[in-house]
């Protein structure tokens, strides 16, 4: 290179040029559409008595229910979803393509429909529910367990798809190397594969958690709307909107802040793995 010998003066480099307006204009509209509603929320919030409203028992109960059920949901999705993703990515069983298509169904089905379907399966007169009731005395609907099941139904595909993608992208030769060192398939999975796809599992878990936190339709259909037991934050926001819009704004702001925190974590995850 002759960089150091070059005479002082303007550096001549090809200018990238201004981004073309047919791309910039719609992009700006898009950003505004996403940001302005949030701004409205912040502007209209009853800031003076914010502290008192946020710490009301009903709000705290709903927040606690939302956070705890979303976390349990994420754990369930990890326990069942990661092995499912592994089966889809690493084995070639008959009907694999069909199973993969079925796993994605909750993504396209309206959550309310999911709630109805869960009721038909696990409701007191449901296909499985009647036996749960008759033999074990267990009734699932309208309990916190139902909240978790409703959330798991809608959130699991996010985790499975994310982890399956990570597994497909992982270099399988590392698994072969582990096998030549005497590792059986379970050891290969836990000691080599899982650590390699951990960023993908993490991203999937965060997406899953966020989806569970925002779940509304399946929850209200299958678990109902009982304050303290099944009324999660989104349900509380919807109910508050009917009688006390200011309370709805407060609840929405809390939910927004929690979601932002999740997004920040997610971004960090992406940056770390990029």
């Amino acid at each position: 290179m002759t960089g150091s010998a070059a005479p002082a003066g303007p550096v001549l480099r090809a200018r990238p040029g201004r981004p073309p307006w047919p791309l910039v204009l719609p992009a700006l509209v898009g950003v505004a559409f996403l940001v302005l509603p949030m701004l409205g929320l912040v502007v209209r919030a009853p800031w003076p008595d914010m502290g008192r409203r946020v710490t009301e028992p009903d709000v705290l109960a709903a927040l606690w229910l939302s956070l705890s059920t979303a976390t349990v949901t994420t754990a369930l999705c990890l326990v069942f979803g990661v092995p499912l993703a592994w089966l889809l990515a690493r084995t070639d069983f008959p009907g694999r393509r069909l199973v993969r298509a079925l796993v994605a169904v909750p993504l396209v089905v309206p959550p309310v429909v999911g709630g109805v379907a869960l009721l038909l399966l696990l409701g007191r007169n449901g296909l499985l529910g009647r036996y749960l009731d008759a033999w074990f005395g267990i009734t699932v609907p309208f309990t916190p367990a139902a909240v978790v099941l409703a959330q798991t139904f809608v959130a699991m595909p996010f985790l499975v798809i994310s982890v399956e993608g990570a597994l497909r992208g992982a270099d399988r030769r590392y698994e072969e190397a582990a096998a030549t060192l005497g590792a059986g398939r379970v050891t290969v999975f836990t000691r080599v594969t899982l650590p390699m796809v951990l960023p993908g599992v993490g991203a999937g878990a965060i997406l899953c958690w966020a989806r569970a936190l925002g779940e509304f339709g399946a929850t209200i259909t299958f678990a109902g709307n009982f304050p303290g037991t099944t009324q999660t934050m989104p349900l509380a926001v919807y109910m508050a909107m009917q009688r006390d819009p200011e309370a709805a704004i407060v609840l929405s702001l809390v939910l927004l802040l929690v979601s932002l925190a999740v997004l920040a974590t997610l971004r960090e995850k992406w940056v770390n793995t990029a």
Binding site: R173, A177, A178, A179, T180, L181, V192, P195
Partner: protein, 350 residues
């Protein structure tokens, strides 16, 4: 070498995938290093993967120390394998990489780590036990991969292109070091390479694989001196011709006749190095050499020499000095006389 040694590895590898089919028989003695040398797609890596159990055989067998391992799953074969990019586990320290195998074989964590530390120390990596693999140089990573493969006390060591991931500048040093480490291993070693120099330096014996078959097998010096296929001849830098010997005259398949110094009868191969070829603008007088009038097909730089490709009754390459080229003034299409002394032409049964 020389004394009779028992074969550790006895393998007959046959597999077909699509229109590729591999049929290779190998036998490697204790302490011996066999190199599978061949062009890309020749099947040498498939052969290695089949030995490891990573590719299923269509037919044949794999025996190690007399035990049949044809159907043994990968994780239970008495093998250690060094992969092309070494494939060290990035989420583990160097020490844990090497301890991984012993752990899988049921050793306690302390024992596995002690063994790993000992192996790393032996490879002059004692100071790198806690290093992450990505912070190692190519040569260091290669030794960690070798230590990891040896940690399971294999009887068969497999190396897939062990030099391919290294800078050209470090190869010389790393190759010599790998050679010394391989000499210490008392099991059988099979390594795959497309680089003849790696094969010559690292191996006791070379099997040249082309199109899924072993086309030549022998000691490195033997392969270098007496190539049996155009591919091997190109690798070792010799002109090679096939023909029929009748005493010291060999009638080549193309019609030309080459005088050689050793008498043979029947199908024969003739090989001589490009630097043994002398070029003349005019027919030289009273020369006892083989002499052909040929056409210049191309001229290229080759080290500090110039390689002239000639075509005509036979195709051959001649290495001359740049000064000689300037004097001859050769360009493509020129006619030139090429001479080779009979004493330079090696003749062997074909």
């Amino acid at each position: 070498m020389g004394e009779h040694r028992v074969s550790v590895l006895c393998a007959d590898l046959r597999l077909s995938r699509g229109d590729f089919d591999l049929d290779v028989a190998l036998s490697v003695a204790a302490g011996e290093v066999l190199a599978l040398l061949g062009p890309n797609g020749a099947g040498k890596s498939s052969a290695l993967r089949a030995l490891a159990g990573l590719l299923p055989l269509t037919a044949g067998h794999v025996r190690v120390d007399g035990d049949d391992h044809t159907r043994t799953p990968v994780e239970r074969r008495p093998i250690g394998m060094v992969f092309q990019d070494y494939l060290l586990f990035q989420h583990m320290s160097t020490l844990d990489n090497v301890a991984f195998g012993p752990r899988c074989q049921g050793e306690s964590k302390a024992d596995a780590r002690a063994r790993a530390a000992e192996l790393l120390g032996h490879m002059d990596l004692a100071g790198y036990t806690r290093a992450r693999p990505r912070n190692l140089s190519g040569g260091q990573a290669q030794r960690v991969a070798l230590a990891r493969a040896l940690a399971v006390r294999p009887r068969l060591l497999l190396l897939d292109e062990p030099m391919a991931a290294l800078d050209v500048s470090t190869r010389l040093h790393v190759r010599g070091r790998l050679r010394r480490l391989l000499e210490e291993f008392d099991g059988a070693t099979v390594l795959v390479t497309h680089d003849p120099l790696d094969a010559m330096v690292l191996a006791d014996r070379i099997a040249v694989v082309e199109g899924g078959r072993v086309v030549q097998e022998g000691a490195p010096a033997e392969v270098a001196r007496r190539p049996r296929t155009p591919y091997v001849a190109r690798l070792v830098g010799l002109n090679l011709f096939r023909g029929r010997a009748d005493g010291t005259a060999v009638a080549l398949d193309g019609g030309a006749v080459v005088e050689v110094h050793e008498a043979h009868h029947g199908p024969a191969l003739v090989a001589f190095p490009p630097r043994a070829v002398a070029l003349y603008r005019r027919r030289p007088d009273g020369s006892p050499r083989n002499l052909w009038e040929l056409t210049v097909d191309g001229v290229e730089r080759f080290g500090d020499q110039v390689r002239v490709h000639l075509t005509g009754t036979l195709d051959l390459a001649a290495d001359i000095s740049p000064a000689a080229l300037a004097e001859l003034g050769l360009v493509r299409g020129d006619t030139v006389w090429a001479g080779v002394k009979a004493a330079e032409a090696e003749c062997y049964p074909g």
